[in-house]
């Protein structure tokens, strides 16, 4: 058998609550800025939580009105981030039959669904937009990107709630490794800031209710954390087969070296307090990448700021990494971006790539009193330098349903 095909990252794109592209988002992240704000929509005061993290740059500022009216907001995010990532990768010349798209969403076009249902009730069936179905389908973001770049190796949308974005990147990684494609546009998006999903999350007691200080509400690992802050936006990475990237002289950010996937089989929404599924995912990911816990210097945690989830994850990290957890700088960037659900694992992968490039772990903000149950080394308030030389970093992403995804990013000489 020939040598294993390697997968590298050659382009980045993002639109997030703290920046309209990958580099402005990264700068805001290092500066510790929060994207959470009080919502100005009338409906916001009809539900228990009236704040969220809207994107810093609305799609209407960067896309034409006519294009936007046929797109769900999540699809617009996917196109915006993909165009940036594609350009960042140098707009590669690639055989279309070797180009794929894997872009996930946790909930799909939920705002389109709800808005069109309002139209159906108020004005009748004839007024329902003919674009309703292509706008609400969860594969819509991936499909639109596939159309734009004429991808013909396959267009896919893994759905695993808040693990979706990471699962998409893992799926793309496998597609290249398994020789189904040479280049993949991969990532995750979410646009679910609407009364119904927010009321639903609030009914689960999953959302923070700290409405007097939205920018202080997302506080992973803080003793007084009370839930997550809903965010919107997305992130996209161009994954490319290593030799393909080298042959065209592409800028190579880093390598994706492995992934670990497990499921809890425990509860539809609650994390398994043992964290055994998370531990197994970390072990599988490291083994898949052919590295050990000693090589890991940084981890972007799932850490959403819920009372149960953060500690369960931290315990699992400590158990999986053992003593080597002492040299792993753990960052919980949802403290700044809020929780982008299906977009989370994707923007956090963008952050890992930037962290490896700049050798800086981004901060975790809003920790006033670190929960003593958290026994990992959390990067607080300011970025922290990462070592020179060969390093590896992990992305933890978990989803309602008990989905666990761990991705391994590695520096490339």
């Amino acid at each position: 058998m020939s040598a294993q095909r390697r997968v590298v990252v050659t382009g980045l794109g993002a639109t997030t609550p703290i920046g309209g592209d990958a580099s402005s988002t990264w700068a805001a992240l290092l500066a510790g800025k929060s994207g959470a704000r009080t919502l100005t929509e009338d409906w916001a005061n009809t539900i228990p939580v009236n704040f969220a993290a809207r994107v810093a740059v609305d799609p209407s500022e960067v896309m034409e009105r006519v294009e936007l009216r046929k797109l769900d907001r999540s699809e617009a995010f996917a196109l915006i981030a993909s165009r940036e990532a594609w350009k960042d990768a140098g707009s590669p010349e690639v055989d279309n039959e070797r180009l794929g798209v894997v872009i996930a969403s946790g909930i799909g076009g939920v705002t389109t669904l709800l808005e069109q249902y309002d139209i159906l009730k108020e004005k009748g069936a004839r007024s329902v937009s003919p674009y309703t179905v292509p706008m609400l389908m969860p594969n819509g973001p991936a499909a639109h990107v596939g159309l734009e770049f004429k991808a013909r190796a396959g267009v896919h949308t893994p759905v695993s709630a808040c693990a979706s974005g990471a699962e998409a990147i893992g799926y793309a990684f496998e597609m290249i490794r398994n020789n189904r494609a040479d280049v993949i546009i991969s990532g995750g998006v979410e646009a679910a800031i609407h009364a119904l999903p927010m009321a639903g999350f609030a009914a689960m007691k999953a959302l923070s209710t700290r409405s007097d200080a939205p920018e202080r509400a997302s506080r992973p690992y803080d003793l007084d954390r009370d839930g997550f802050v809903l965010g919107e936006g997305g992130g996209v990475l161009i994954l490319e087969e290593y030799e393909h990237a080298k042959a065209r002289g592409a800028k190579i950010y880093c390598e994706i070296a492995g992934q670990g996937l497990t499921s809890d089989g425990f509860h539809i929404a609650a994390p398994d307090p043992d964290g055994s599924g998370v531990q197994r995912a970390i072990k599988f990911a490291l083994a898949d990448a052919g590295i050990s816990t000693k090589d890991v210097v940084h981890l972007n945690a799932h850490a959403t700021s819920t009372p149960a989830g953060d500690v369960a994850e931290a315990n699992a990290l400590r158990l999986a990494l053992g003593k080597d957890a002492d040299h792993v700088a753990v960052s919980a960037t949802k403290s700044m971006t809020g929780h982008l659900l299906g977009g989370a694992g994707a923007i956090e992968s963008v952050f890992l790539v930037k962290a490896i490039q700049d050798r800086l772990a981004p901060p975790t903000i809003n920790i006033e009193n670190l929960d003593p149950a958290v026994t990992v080394d959390v990067v607080r308030d300011k970025p922290r330098a990462l070592p020179a030389g060969d390093i590896a970093a992990l992305n933890d992403s978990f989803g309602f349903g008990g989905h666990n995804v761990v991705l391994v990013f590695k520096s490339v000489n």
Binding site: V66, R69, R126, S129, P130, Y131
Partner: protein, 82 residues
């Protein structure tokens, strides 16, 4: 009261501009919706529903595929309003 051809053309121009982003100035009677104005089958549904609302006429689904050009639509709407 029957609408005039000029009234309908002016209104239809606004609708096509709204739906497809084609500047009203370039929309003329002989323009074909799909070939010249990038109004695909889904966008055509929007044009039809908006026209029904605006001109107070009914455009049955089986008539829609006969409306190839802006002129076809204008003539249909003028007749239907009579």
């Amino acid at each position: 009261m029957a609408l005039t051809q000029a009234d309908v053309l002016a209104g239809l121009k606004e609708i096509v501009e709204e739906v497809a982003g084609i500047p009203a100035a370039s929309i003329e009677l002989d323009k074909n919706f799909s070939d010249d104005l990038e109004v695909d089958s889904l966008s055509m549904v929007e044009v039809v529903v908006a026209s029904e609302e605006r001109f107070g006429v009914k455009i049955p689904d089986d008539q829609v595929e006969e409306l190839k050009t802006v002129g076809d639509a204008v003539n249909f709407i003028v007749k239907a309003s009579a």
